[in-house]
Subunit: 117 residues, 2 copies
DNA sequence: TTGACGATTCTATAATTCTGGAATTATAGA
DNA sequence: TCTATAATTCCAGAATTATAGAATCGTCAA
């Protein structure tokens, strides 16, 4: 993941309303939720919600599809996973005991052969 | 982790310069790096760097200690871990195959007994 | 005490982001 | 076609954040 994409994703999440939306979608699973459903659940105005969803979408954190009059949003698990991996990349090289709990997120395990530190 | 803390941490990271600093500290390990060393490595002005470090520090993402004339900054691994766990909390409940790679980050594994979905 | 160095704080300006009202677009049903 | 519903787009004012110059603070060594 490029730093620019990571900053876009982090900026998108660095907002109380958008973070709540994203986490709700993460819990909702791949079926996602309709925009209106999200609006009712969060109490957000329709236009505010729409612009927040478009920011999350531009950052690649959610996907959308139309279903009749509704638009269904779902968390983009792959992008989220890439973001987490980017954050902890090469975590504490040489001290695997510290980031051991994060090893599955990193693209390669701490201390793996051939990793520059 | 409270949503407010998570937003603070995400806001701190949602900045190209600060993200670079944080990732450098994550790689640097618990020994950390002196502010001046970080400044040389990133090419940032001393005052800009200082204010960015204070933002990361206020968000709990880095810790600092004085060593002579230098101030040494280090990544706060516990806070980082909490943030990641917060982001994927209750990830796709009922669809553990999707977030399996993240299971070690979440405080409890997907589909664990007794988790409300 | 003095000078040098590492780092932070203060301040003003520039730039960006947030919010909500109003208008617009898209779809479904009568 | 007409109407209602779902969602988005446009816009301006308010608030926040970023940047860099200048001054200040803390530590060390002579």
């Amino acid at each position: 993941m490029e730093p620019t994409s990571a900053v876009a994703a982090l900026s998108a999440l660095a907002h109380e309303g958008r973070l709540a939306i994203f986490r709700m979608l993460v819990r909702a699973g791949p079926e996602g939720m309709a925009a209106g459903e999200i609006a009712r659940a969060t109490g957000a105005l329709a236009n505010t919600l729409s612009s927040n969803l478009s920011i999350l979408s531009a950052a690649g954190l959610v996907s959308s599809r139309r279903d009749g009059r509704s638009i269904i949003y779902a968390a983009a698990y792959a992008q989220m996973s890439e973001l987490l991996a980017f954050l902890v990349e090469d975590c504490c090289c040489g001290h695997p005991e510290i980031c051991a709990p994060l090893s599955l997120v990193a693209s390669q395990p701490c201390g793996a052969e051939g990793r520059a530190c």
